[in-house]
């Protein structure tokens, strides 16, 4: 029991009390349910790998998005990780392909471009016919650094754009922080 609680506690966002509650809940479930849980854990770990093209999570050598013939070729959206890719998919606004970098450049943490899937991205751009690369990276120092780096690197090959930073929908100017408001002013667009 203590071992199970300990395992739950290692998960992000789960403290000792929640871990205990989850463990106790599972102990009250039928044997079969526990087996299914354990199986799902093992299967996920062994079967889910990375798409060999875009590096999104995938059980097959090529992920569903890369295989989908209805998605537009020629436009690649670059994201830091699969979570960001899934967030963009939820908008149903982007119909091109993706490339998962596997992180952001962060000199403070010793993460340089060589630790990310940058070479693979350049290779894709030289092999496929790419007209636009959209950088969808977080508005942070690391995101800015990575966007700047990739922008310089890729501009000779195709047009490079970056998602907009500014006021989020439904927000009030009055409560926006100054950096966001400055960026929104700076990034103004013709009506």
């Amino acid at each position: 029991m203590a071992r199970l609680i300990d395992q739950f506690e290692r998960l992000p966002g789960i403290g000792p009390r929640t871990a205990q509650r989850l463990a106790l809940h599972l102990l009250n479930q039928p044997q079969e349910q526990i087996h299914q849980f354990a199986d799902a854990l093992l299967a996920a770990r062994t079967q889910v790998g990375q798409c060999q093209t875009c590096f999104h999570l995938s059980a097959d050598p090529e992920c569903e998005i890369c295989r989908n013939p209805e998605r537009r070729n020629g436009v690649i959206c670059v994201v830091a990780d699969s979570r960001d890719l899934l967030a963009l998919e939820r908008t149903r606004e982007f119909h091109g392909r993706y490339h998962v970098l596997g992180g952001l450049i962060s000199p403070m943490d010793g993460i340089g471009p060589e630790l990310l899937r940058v070479t693979e991205l350049v290779q894709r751009i030289s092999n496929e016919e790419i007209s636009e690369v959209i950088l969808a990276l977080t508005p942070s120092v690391e995101g800015d650094t990575t966007s700047l780096y990739l922008g310089r690197l890729l501009k000779p090959f195709c047009s490079v754009s970056r998602i907009a930073y500014g006021l989020p929908m439904g927000s009030e100017l009055e409560y926006a922080d100054e950096v966001t408001l400055s960026r929104a002013l700076e990034g103004r667009r013709p009506v």
Copy 2:
């Protein structure tokens, strides 16, 4: 005492308990302090009016921003109210002039452009030499409607732009709502 508590309770964001605490606090202050408070209240109400040019709050016929010779002429930033103007001033990024509309177009609430200071804005644009109007309105249905209306109205006279809508600084793609993320994608800019 009850009357004072009642007055405080009418203020936005102040409930009965806070109102009581404020009233009790004031009763413990020296007589002089209470007089200064009352004077400030009366003076604000009688002396603070609107700038005749931009309609920002001002004790004089022309506000400090309109009088300031160091601010750039030719660029007008249009805001809904003085609170939004003050938020933009805090960024120290905008050095032009302002125009306070006095609200946003809202057909649901029966607020049409004739109730806002639109005629005054058009007049300013035809009298002064204006090269750009920046619409700094909230990202909402009302803000969008007003931006669309003003965009069509003013485009024959000068270039009209709108502040950027997208991811706020320091936010995570993963937690952004879908509409904000869609707008950020749509509003992407060349790197």
